[in-house]
């Protein structure tokens, strides 16, 4: 069992020698919290999940974004972050891409929702996106739900336990972006139920028995009641 506890900035999370994630600073042999959140001291790593915060793009993350602009070279994508994602046209049309012969709006238009992967994220320029690979590209339908990006790990659960539970109980397909954007497809009733369950995770992410709570909510309403 991983030890989880609430911390505020300045709290010492652990001592000794560990690997550590973002929002933690090493001072001497002490690991100090930099945010309000839940600290996890695992066997080989200490983590801090902040209560709130923006989505900070990291390479290899799967995100769901909204095309907000396009120019001759690619699409500007709102990835629910303080940075705009950029999807270069050459990543979509291939190396033979030329602004003169290819029409970008034939692929994605302003307002389209796309599933993408963060190709690279560095401070010197906007994060680059890519849609190469299975399952990436335009999302044609579904209900968009936004949750706090810091709650995404809770919504997914351990090895996808939480998200699989919600998906199984509601019969809906739930796609979660690391940036806090969730797209749900399925029957109208299923979508309503899924949306409530997702909101529940968002609001009660701090609860220790969250999985049971969500299961209780979904299980209780499975027989057609509210």
């Amino acid at each position: 069992m991983i030890e989880r506890r609430q911390v505020i900035p300045g709290d010492v999370i652990a001592k000794g020698n560990h690997r550590y994630g973002p929002y933690i600073e090493k001072r001497g042999d002490e690991y100090v919290a930099l945010r309000v959140g839940l600290a996890e001291v695992g066997r080989d790593e200490i983590k801090l999940n902040p209560v709130t915060g923006p989505y900070l793009p990291r390479a290899e993350d799967d995100v769901i974004g909204k095309v907000v602009d396009l120019n001759g070279f690619g699409w500007v994508v709102d990835i629910n972050s303080c940075f705009d994602g950029f999807l270069p046209a050459s990543f979509v049309f291939g190396r033979e891409f030329s602004p003169a012969t290819h029409d970008l709006s034939s692929k994605f238009r302003v307002g389209d929702i796309i599933g993408a992967r963060i190709e690279s994220s560095e401070r010197s320029r906007d994060p680059q996106l890519s849609i190469r690979g299975q399952g990436y590209g335009k999302i044609e339908s579904g209900e968009i739900i936004k949750i706090s990006p810091t709650k995404v790990p809770r919504l997914i659960g351990k090895r996808g336990a939480m998200i699989n539970l919600i998906s199984e109980k509601t019969g809906c397909d739930v796609r979660v972006g690391q940036n806090g954007v969730v797209v749900v497809t399925g029957s109208p009733e299923g979508i309503v139920k899924t949306a409530r369950a997702v909101k529940m995770v968002d609001e009660e992410a701090h609860a220790a028995d969250l999985m049971t709570k969500v299961e209780g909510y979904l299980g209780g309403s499975e027989s057609g009641g509210n």
């Binding site: 705009d84 389209d112 968009i144």
Partner: protein, 270 residues
């Protein structure tokens, strides 16, 4: 870093919106002619002659009235001055920027000003002190604090509420010179104009559009009516058209909805 210019509605959400509207429903479960919850607070700014804060759904606007003496305009030597100004604060929306007012902010102030002016809400002839030389000038300055669509109506209600509750010094004229006395009097308010803004999305007109609806609309129309249901000002916005039948529909709606809103403004400012 690219600058965000306008809110973009997701294509799939726009499709859902259109589908709901076809069935006479809206995203936030309002009726097509239903406004969001309206809250009016007055007298918030101690140093102003009058003030009001209006919350319309998540849209929030604050208005302050400043009254002073001034020189009348040459074409109206025996009438007071009324001026409505608007500013959209940079903190009110991710799309608002500091700097000179945007086209939208200027249109906002002018549409609100015209509704108040053309309804003859304030009897400007009662604000004349020394004809051609000195009149009472009423300045209404508005700040948008949070943007969630329909700034026109929220601001109009804030200005009307602030003016209805504003107090000014009584002026005495002696030897062609106006001097303020210690006595406080209300601003000569004669009528209560109410503006109602509607957006056309596809075929349907919706009252009091929120950000999402404004980002999906083809056309917008603002109609201001007075206590007797007379139309005193109107403004059409955006690039698309409106059919004659829909103009009449919009006029009827603005009178009907305006009556309900007027009752709320009267209640909050009595």
């Amino acid at each position: 870093m690219s600058m965000k210019k306008n809110y973009v509605v997701e294509t799939i959400r726009k499709a859902q919106l259109a589908q709901l509207l076809a069935g006479g429903k809206r995203m936030d479960e309002r009726r097509l002619d239903q406004t969001r919850e309206l809250k009016i607070e007055t007298g918030l700014i101690q140093k102003a002659n009058g003030s009001a804060r209006v919350t319309l759904g998540n849209t929030q606007v604050i208005a302050g009235v400043k009254i002073a003496t001034g020189i009348p305009f040459p074409d109206t030597p025996d009438k007071g001055i009324l001026m409505v100004n608007a500013e959209i604060l940079p903190m009110s929306s991710p799309y608002a920027e500091p700097g000179p007012p945007s086209e939208g902010a200027i249109e906002l102030a002018r549409v609100v000003d015209r509704g108040i002016r053309e309804s003859e809400m304030v009897d400007l002839s009662k604000l004349s002190l020394v004809p051609g030389k000195s009149v009472v000038a009423v300045f209404v300055d508005c700040n948008v604090m949070n943007v969630d669509g329909n700034l026109f109506d929220a601001m109009s209600y804030a200005v009307v509420s602030a003016l209805r509750t504003a107090k000014m010094k009584k002026y005495a004229v002696k030897d062609e010179k106006a001097e303020a006395t210690d006595q406080w009097v209300p601003v000569p308010v004669e009528r209560t104009p109410v503006s109602v803004t509607m957006a056309r999305i596809g075929e349907k007109l919706v009252v009091d559009p929120n950000t999402e609806e404004e980002a999906s609309m083809d056309m917008r129309i603002t109609i201001t009516t007075d206590d007797d249901g007379n139309i005193c000002a109107s403004q059409k916005g955006e690039a698309s058209f409106i059919s004659p039948a829909q103009v009449l529909e919009a006029a009827d709606t603005s009178i009907r909805v305006g009556r309900e809103i007027r009752a709320k403004i009267m209640e909050a400012t009595k």
